[in-house]
């Protein structure tokens, strides 16, 4: 019997298929403007006894995909389940995705006790990084490594994507090194994330998931701030889909 989990995020969609508790298939694609078509593409050839959807597209998927045996859970639950499978002792899950940031606090039995999410504004999320990388004309994949080359940390005051972009632009106009601006932008994200972690009283170990976990600068600044190492799984994008698949298989 196969069980699938699909995480339909604002930027990408991931699928994980389990058989006897082992991952037998996983794949990822961009969300695009037609997320249902993208989901179908990912689902092609997959026969699962049950599929569980999570992410912001979960409702559309359960209502419109035409697939039976579909259920939806929130990202909070999916990430908590997935993270615990990867690292059973995890107490805090941090996910920075395309349009939202969430922190989830688990008790020692792995139950979600509290969570925080950013509000409607995408400040401090993957979207913010994407905009800032574009403003500094650095490819998003290497933006973190680029920032780590800084020789000093410029303080960026604004957390709003629009304001931070104009702040970065005026810094560039004053001749500031792009890498120094870049690390300032990363620090702004980390400060914001850290305050969310404090609000849930986040205990260590912390597992960092979502697309932004690929960014080495966010990781290193966050560790500096936490004064502890954080765990980044091999496939940080797949944690939500894995959690959904585990839920599908009945945990």
């Amino acid at each position: 019997m196969k069980y699938a989990g699909i995480d339909i995020g604002s930027r990408s969609i991931e699928i994980v298929v389990l058989r006897n508790g082992n991952i037998v298939h996983s794949a990822k694609t961009d969300t695009t403007f037609d997320l249902l078509a993208q989901c179908k593409l990912l689902m092609k050839g997959i026969e699962a006894a049950k599929i569980v959807a999570t992410g912001y597209g979960r409702k559309l998927f359960t209502d419109e995909s035409g697939i039976n045996h579909v259920e939806a859970i929130t990202e909070i639950q999916a990430y908590a389940l997935g993270a615990r499978r990867i690292y059973p002792d995890v107490r805090t899950v941090l996910d920075i995705g395309g349009q939202d940031t969430k922190v989830i606090s688990l008790n020692s039995n792995g139950k979600v006790v509290k969570f925080e999410m950013n509000d409607r504004c995408a400040a401090g999320t993957g979207k913010f990084i994407e905009f800032m990388a574009a403003a500094l004309q650095v490819p998003i994949e290497s933006f973190g490594a680029f920032a780590l080359k800084a020789d000093k940390k410029i303080h960026i005051n604004s957390m709003c994507t629009v304001f931070a972009e104009s702040e970065a632009t005026s810094l560039m106009a004053r001749g500031e090194k792009p890498a120094n601006i870049a690390i300032g932008l990363h620090q702004a994200i980390v400060d914001r994330t850290f305050s969310m972690l404090s609000r849930v009283d986040g205990k260590t170990p912390v597992l960092f998931a979502g697309g932004v976990a690929h960014n080495p600068c966010v990781k290193s600044l966050l560790e500096e701030k936490l004064r502890d190492t954080i765990i980044i799984p091999d496939n940080p994008d797949m944690v939500g889909a894995l959690g959904a698949a585990l839920y599908s298989a009945g945990r």
Binding site: T74, E75, I76, Q77, K114, M117, D119
Partner: protein, 425 residues
């Protein structure tokens, strides 16, 4: 609503085109949110009717009352004592503050970072779409939060009949003295407006009518706590909202009818949702008609709301006014005592509100609390943090929501609400 009211609306100076738009949106919202609910008590039919005629028949009634010599007083707050208004044969109505309207015009007069409730009041005035405001002979503003207090200075330029009541900020002897002085001044103002001298018999009668209205809601609040829950939180909220608009005696009868039906339902274990649905207590800012956003999200996510610690809810109707006094002075003291117990977040400190929330969690057997804060509402947002901490220290799961009247954040809110329901299951 029928075409018959067009002339009436015109005579009130409403902008018919804008008003039509508002009614269409209201009708659609009501249809989508209320009429899609399952297993509603038949007695809710009355409230459906009230809603369908909220700008029609009810306004016609008010105009008829005015023709018969009664005065209409409009209010934005539960601190305006209805007892005094009724004692002078006047009618008290809540004014519209539950939906965004004419926001571009509003933001010319008020800072953008003003809460939705205040902006809404201005939107209805500037858009000329609130027949209650336009029928009012006196509009009562009250110095509760800074936002309202300062915005009345601006509202005063837009209307000719604004009366501003000062409200204390501390539950001290001085605070009570202030409330007393202001209620006495209000009594005089109402007497002057109506030409009626309020005597003890009149005041007693006013108190009785309002107490009966509150008693009906008290009964409803107890009945709706049954398991399975016999009445949706949306419907209970609607009843609490209509409280501010309807003719009080008819309203009381209609609520009591719903209560009779709920008693039957409880005997038959008939619920709006099956047994075991997560039970949520809402606490925080008032939800004025037609603000149904958060309750709708909660109740379409598989949970049910069992109480509202809110001015449109328990906080607003909690205590009765002692009717045993024989003189105007004694009865006025009783009115002051009753209102001075309202635990609004404008008071500092305000620990009694926390006690109220904890008490409601117990009596409602709530699985968790969702704290509802309107964006930019300083008093409630400030308290939301200490309320959350205090409740969590007692292992009561709490979710803080901060939002406004717009629908753009609905999906983000839905994720949080659903995740909270998963957490408390």
């Amino acid at each position: 609503m029928s075409e018959d009211y067009k002339d009436m609306w015109k005579s009130l100076g409403l902008n018919l085109e804008a008003h039509d738009m508002l009614l269409k949106a209201l009708g659609k919202g009501y249809q989508d949110i209320y009429m899609t609910q399952q297993n509603r008590p038949a007695g809710m039919g009355y409230f459906d009717f009230v809603m369908s005629e909220v700008h029609g028949l009810r306004i016609k009634e008010l105009i008829d009352e005015k023709r018969a010599g009664r005065k209409v007083i409009g209010s934005f707050c539960v601190f305006v004592p209805e007892e005094i208004v009724l004692a002078a044969d006047a009618v008290l109505v809540g004014l519209c503050t539950g939906a965004d309207f004419a926001m571009e015009d509003v933001e010319k007069l008020l800072p953008r970072n003003t809460c939705s409730l205040i902006k809404s009041a201005f939107g209805f005035k500037l858009g000329k779409v609130c027949p209650y405001l336009e029928s009012a002979d006196m509009i009562v503003g009250e110095n509760t939060c800074d936002g309202k207090k300062k915005s009345y200075e601006t509202l005063n330029d837009l209307v000719s009949n604004l009366y501003v009541m000062d409200i204390p900020q501390m539950k001290s002897i001085k605070g009570r003295d202030l409330l007393k002085a202001e209620y006495m001044r209000f009594k005089n103002a109402v007497e002057e407006l109506t030409g009626i001298t309020i005597n003890s018999a009149r005041l007693k009668k006013g108190i009785e009518i309002v107490n009966n209205k509150r008693k009906a809601i008290h009964k409803l609040s107890i009945l709706r706590k049954a398991e399975p829950v016999p009445l949706s939180g949306l419907d209970a909220l609607l009843i609490n909202q209509v409280f501010f608009y309807d003719e009080p005696i008819r309203f009381t009868e209609s609520v009591n009818k719903v209560c009779d039906e709920l008693e039957m339902r409880i005997r038959k274990e008939e619920g709006v949702l099956p047994k075991g649905a997560s039970r949520i207590l809402i606490s925080g800012c008032p939800m004025a008609l037609p603000n149904w956003k958060l309750p709708w999200l909660i109740e379409t996510s598989g949970a049910v709301i069992v109480g509202e610690e809110s001015c449109v809810g328990e906080r607003g109707i909690k205590n009765l006014t002692d009717n045993s006094g024989n003189t105007v002075e004694e009865l006025m003291e009783a009115i002051i005592d009753r209102y001075f117990k309202v635990n609004c977040a404008i008071f500092t400190p305000n620990q009694d509100r926390l006690k109220d929330i904890e008490e409601m969690v117990k009596t409602c057997q709530a699985d968790g609390v969702i704290h509802y804060g309107l964006q930019f509402c300083q008093p409630y947002l400030m308290e939301s943090i200490s309320v959350e901490k205090a409740l969590e220290a007692k292992n009561i799961p709490t979710l803080r929501i901060e939002t406004d009247y717009s629908m753009e954040d609905v999906e983000q809110l839905r994720t949080r609400v659903e995740a909270f329901i998963e957490l408390i299951k």
